[in-house]
């Protein structure tokens, strides 16, 4: 019988990640990776001056 492991949140990363695994016999047999956050930067960028796009895209990630 496989056992389900959910790790949420995954720490020591940037952002919010959830990992779900099915473990059988001490081995992972299936896994799902799920991003848990959406900010809509692409939507915000529409209609803007291309010269300032980097101000927004840069802030997608601060690491």
């Amino acid at each position: 019988m496989s056992k389900k492991i959910v790790i949420d949140p995954i720490t020591r990363i940037e952002g919010h990640l959830k990992i779900e695994c099915e473990v059988d016999n001490g081995k992972v047999v299936n896994a799902w990776s799920s991003g848990q956050m959406w900010r809509g930067i692409e939507v915000i960028l529409q209609g803007r001056d291309p010269r300032e796009a980097w101000i927004f895209t840069q802030r997608i990630c601060g690491v």
């Binding site: 020591r12 990363i13 952002g15 900010r39 692409e42 803007r48 010269r51 980097w54 601060g62 690491v63």
Partner: protein, 477 residues
């Protein structure tokens, strides 16, 4: 850029990922003298003395004794999967503290050029905002340039004498991890550090490797590379966006459609990108393997050096296991790849600095080309080999205003959910076969996930412009 990459790799290894492998509490039991002599065998790093070790150990003791463990309180200390002897743990812990210092130093390079970090603010579409004028006190002048150079040199010592060695040592002890976590072995990376303004010559090569077969490497050669341009697609079958399509970034739309978490249907905000219809792994390992395949000399040198050091440590430990390039297709391989890339980037940094100085010497102070946005629809893309892997931005500009903008970032590739063909993303695939000794403390899963250095919101530090023209980054790194 290089400096940023190096910083990122060091922070990741020591502060984000090392705690999966290093038992800090165990370090308290170590003998500083033994740790020091071990360290001296491995490298010539002058800060490996017994006193350094003792000081670090005392610092940790005090901290642990205070009873307030803070972020360390929830660690997996004493976990079965922690295999390092106390001395190595102490060595790593000492370097954890030293790395805090060195990451700051390399980061200062970024700060000098970028004005602050993170979120450097020296970019401008068409160039950089850093004026160069050796005869001005308000521009990039000798003082600034040599501050940068000094910092580059200092960090070089650390990378070569500490980081590389530590990774080799940990890698050797955890050699069994070379068999886990390969996952998706289609590797994708892009060339970087362009040597000309047109973006046709690069210091660091990039390309695509299918199925872990280094000989299948096909290079991406320019900023306008069609092979790259035509083969990127993203699927949202399992992502919380409206519809179910598999499109080229220029044709994408972004309409959120939030549903319940359902593993069979939609379960992530991340889209599933594919290259030639297949998921691909990106990141330092992909980069190193591609550069290795392309015969990039520094990469070959550092990769071989790393493998040799691991094998040396293995023989010192009396183990018969030996590692090869094939061993890199693994969880620990990704960590090693990151260290190798770090060293390669450092070499590149040195040569880029020299190139900058040469240009200034020739009186070339140009840092900016004014962008022009013609009327009508313009489509463009740009890419960069970021610390966490290949990143590309795709933009459609209509009459000087952005019509569509899509970022296909490293973690999108790696943390992707299943794609339109229901093929697993790299994280998902890499976890298959991973051991889990204690389901309550799934340290091993974290090891594999962390080896990718996930960054969900994700790393972008460059912007492409219109007309398929990439920013010229040469001069300010």
């Amino acid at each position: 850029m290089g400096a940023h990459g190096i910083h990122d790799h060091i922070v990741h290894f020591y502060h984000l990922c090392a705690l999966d492998w290093v038992d800090i509490v165990s370090a308290l039991k170590a003998d500083p003298k033994a740790a020091a002599s071990l360290a001296e065998k491995l490298s010539t790093w002058p800060k490996n003395s017994r006193h350094e070790m003792k000081a670090a150990q005392d610092r940790l003791k005090t901290f642990v004794n205070s009873g307030q463990l803070g972020i360390f309180a929830s660690g997996y200390w004493g976990h079965k999967a922690m295999k390092l002897p106390p001395e190595v743990n102490l060595l790593a812990a000492t370097h954890y503290l030293q790395a805090l210092d060195y990451q700051q130093r390399i980061n200062k390079v970024v700060a000098i050029l970028g004005s602050k970090t993170p979120h450097i603010q020296n970019l401008a579409v068409g160039g950089v905002a850093n004026p160069i004028n050796p005869d001005s006190q308000s521009a990039m002048n000798m003082e600034r340039l040599y501050y940068v150079k000094t910092l580059i040199d200092e960090i070089g010592d650390f990378i070569k004498n500490v980081y590389m060695i530590d990774v080799a040592a940990v890698g050797a002890i955890y050699a069994d991890w070379t068999t886990y976590g390969a996952g998706v072995t289609n590797y994708l990376c892009v060339p970087d550090m362009p040597l000309d303004t047109a973006g046709t010559k690069f210091e660091l090569p990039g390309g695509y490797i299918a199925n872990g077969d280094v000989s299948s490497f096909k290079a991406i050669t320019s900023f306008k590379d069609d092979y790259f341009k035509e083969n990127v697609k993203e699927s949202i079958k399992h992502s919380w966006y409206k519809g179910d399509w598999n499109r080229h970034p220029w044709e994408e739309e972004t309409v959120p459609n939030i549903t319940e978490y359902d593993r069979k249907r939609k379960y992530s905000w991340i889209k599933a990108p594919t290259f030639k219809g297949k998921p691909a792994q990106v990141g330092p390992l992909a980069n190193v393997l591609c550069m290795f395949a392309a015969g990039h000399k520094p990469t070959v040198k550092y990769t071989t050096g790393m493998l040799d050091t691991v094998n040396a440590v293995l023989s010192m430990l009396g183990s018969s296991t030996r590692v090869s390039v094939q061993s890199l297709h693994s969880t620990i391989g990704r960590i090693a790849g990151r260290a190798i890339r770090c060293a390669v980037l450092h070499d590149s940094l040195v040569s880029q600095w020299q190139a900058l100085i040469d240009n200034i010497g020739k009186g070339d102070y140009a840092t900016y080309n004014e962008p022009v946005f013609p009327k009508g629809e313009q489509m463009g893309f740009g890419f960069h080999e970021a610390p966490r892997g290949m990143l590309s931005h795709w933009v459609v500009i209509q009459d000087g205003k952005i019509k569509n903008y899509q970022c296909v970032v490293p973690s999108t590739w790696n943390a992707a959910p299943r794609n339109s063909e229901d093929a697993k993303g790299p994280y998902e695939a890499a976890l298959i076969g991973n051991p889990v000794s204690d389901p309550e403390k799934p340290l091993e899963i974290l090891r594999t996930i962390h080896s990718f250095d996930p960054c969900l919101a994700c790393a972008i530090h460059m912007v492409d412009t219109n007309n398929k023209k990439e920013i010229v980054k040469v001069r300010a790194f």
